[in-house]
Amino acid sequence: MTTETLTLAKALGAGLRKAMEDDPKVLIMGEDVGKLGGVFRVTDGLQKDFGESRVIDTPLAESGIVGTAVGLALRGYRPVCEIQFDGFVFPAVDQIISQLAKMHMRSLGAIQLPVVVRIPCGGGIGAVEHHSESPEVHFAHAAGLRVVACSNPADAYTMIQQSIRSADPVIFFEPKRRYWDKAPVEMDLAAAPPLHQAVVARPGDDVTVLAYGPMVKTCLEAAAADDERSLEVIDLRSINPLDIETIMASVRKTGRCVVAHEAPVFGGFGAELAARITERCFYHLEAPVLRVGGFSTPYPPSRVEEQYLPNLDRILDAVDRTFGW
């Protein structure tokens, strides 16, 4: 067992490097991923070490990035695409949802497309519009895709490698405001949980708090700040498929559940969680599943984003409300 302390961005870079060393078919492609190392420096140094044919600075067109990745995968490669920011993924949505996601089914299983699409997501970095969004639910709703979100450096390192190994396409969300968080990273992949398994990030007894990506840290802070109640924080890690068993075990124990995500509450992933938990844990629930998230508005200008993003207080407010029913 070897452990290194890395930032989340460096851990992703280390995971990508390991995947490229392990499999010569793994390619990196995206805007500015070469010399610059990506706008967040996740791919720093990879083009220098693996060359321009494996770390490809692409033209500036997201549909082109994913569409050509599909073609490369058809030829036997395993492309890892970087979408520079969450709000820039929409030009690529036809290629992701209509092409990449469906091709295995359409070909009756003859074609596998092991493509990873990395998307830095979420707000909290003071960015201009289209740079702070949380579009995960669009992809969670598209059959044929696997959708995961890492929350910490250790998971970033392992989950990116597991995603690259997947025979199915994976949409890989990276919590951009956590890129600079540092933590010990276990470098032995064998020790990692399976890609689609949720983990209990902090055990507790009174209320289950579900989160993924950037909100996991916020929820852990909320749990630490609550002196009265014991919060069990679950890091979903994967939203499609969903590890419902881990969630059920926790909610049946606590009887209360709060879901937190940055995306708007209405039609958000929390709605799916609330429905599934209600179907499976109805007689264990002391209160409805409550959701904390963004408003049904476009992402606001950055000077007010702290009001939009769920924070510790809003999470604890929802926790309190589950005890008021």
Partner: protein, 392 residues
């Protein structure tokens, strides 16, 4: 002078088919030479091309008839575009990879895809019935232009495999129509192929109509000239001339395989039928236009050439007609025999690896369906438990 801001291309410029058009066989069946495209074909080869053209037209005819009879949900006819597809399709080598739209039935024929396999999509029994790797013929793509990026990416893979500029060099060919040239994906694929010098041949069948929209709604310059702006050659070929389509595509594929990068071919042709069987062209185009194009029929000119040069007699033409009829009848029979998919097949192949949600829904739906089976059998719930092996 006032300028009409809504006006597009000056009249006549887009449809002047003689402008810079590569043609090796006139509509009257006269062989003409072109300095850049010498073509030597044996009598056998020409007869084979004729046979291809007649058979694919017959398959198409049969599919249209099957649709009229309710056996297919819809069909996209290739009528009039046989020469563009057979000419380009016969220019392919085994190692080349084809990325078709949903109308490339004749290219599929050239790649050895059994005609019946094309019908599954249109009958609604599957979304594609063939293994692309087996024929180097990718799945039909319905979202307009999306496949051109797949062709560009695949071509980048060929480069990374070192399979360019060698004896066994490979290329991709991306098919699309005039309407598709307005799509972002097509333009992005031009950029990609250009800057990476990828071995792609862009084969645009300009059949003059994107459903009801004439070419003037897509472009104010001839389509082949678009290539210049992307930095690679663009050529307009008589799309109803199977010789010219063969020669021009062969040269473009050779160039791509040799590492010279992409070429855009605009095959100037005409959609003789409707866009699909659900379309009604009488609402938007004139009969006279159709009549004018009938005189340029891709099959008649090859027949005229064969007759004039005494390369085929009436027995040959009768044989080809009989063979085409038989292929048509076989397709019909096979179509009627295509089994409907079972309800549980909905869940097949959604993912390559096990997926918890799919498994869960699959089990739930199977149990739901089993309930109806019991009702039909007149058995009770205990019977169902027996089937599941749960009862005593």
């Amino acid at each position: 002078m006032t300028v009409d801001a809504s006006r597009g291309a000056p009249p006549g410029t887009l449809r002047n088919s003689s402008a810079e058009l590569v043609q090796l066989l006139t509509p009257e069946g006269e062989r003409v030479e072109h300095p850049d495209y010498p073509l030597e074909l044996t009598a056998d080869e020409i007869r084979d091309l004729y046979r291809d053209l007649v058979i694919v037209r017959r398959i198409d005819f049969e599919a249209v008839a099957l649709t009229r009879q309710g056996e297919l949900g819809i069909w996209a006819s290739l009528l009039g575009q046989e020469a563009a597809q057979i000419g380009s399709g016969r220019a392919l080598r085994d190692q080349d990879m084809v990325f078709p739209t949903y109308r490339e039935h004749a290219v599929a024929w050239c790649c050895g895809v059994e005609p019946i396999k094309l019908l599954g999509l249109y009958r609604g029994v599957n979304h594609a019935g063939w293994d692309p790797k087996e024929h180097n013929f990718h799945l039909y793509t319905i979202v307009i232009g999306a496949q051109t990026l797949h062709a560009a990416g695949y071509a980048m893979g060929i480069q990374r495999d070192g399979a360019v500029g060698t004896e066994s060099g490979a290329a991709t060919i991306a098919y699309f129509g005039d309407g598709a040239t307005s799509q972002g994906d097509v333009n992005e694929s031009f950029v990609w192929a250009s800057v990476f010098n990828a071995p792609v041949v862009f084969f645009c069948q300009n059949n003059q109509w994107a459903i009801s929209e004439p070419l003037e709604k897509q472009s104010r310059i001839p389509l082949y000239r678009r290539a210049q702006g992307f930095g690679f050659p663009g050529i307009r070929v008589d799309g109803n001339d199977v010789f010219a389509c063969l020669a021009v595509t062969r040269k473009a594929l050779d160039s791509a395989r040799d590492g010279q990068g992409p070429t855009l071919i605009e095959a100037f042709t005409y959609r003789m039928g409707a866009h699909t069987t659900t379309d009604d062209p009488t609402r938007y185009r004139l009969e006279a236009e159709l009549e004018a194009w009938k005189l340029k029929d891709p099959i008649e000119r090859v027949k005229a050439y064969l007759v004039k040069n005494e390369m085929a007699d009436s027995a040959f033409f009768d044989d080809v007609d009989a063979e085409a009829k038989q292929v048509g009848m076989d397709v019909r029979k096979q179509c009627l025999e295509l089994p409907d998919p079972g309800p549980m097949s909905i869940f097949d192949h959604v993912y390559a690896e096990p997926h918890a949600l799919i498994s869960e829904e699959q089990e739930q739906f199977a149990a739901y369906l089993a309930g109806f089976a019991d009702a039909a059998d007149g058995t009770d719930g205990a019977g169902r438990a027996d089937e599941e092996g749960n009862a005593s």
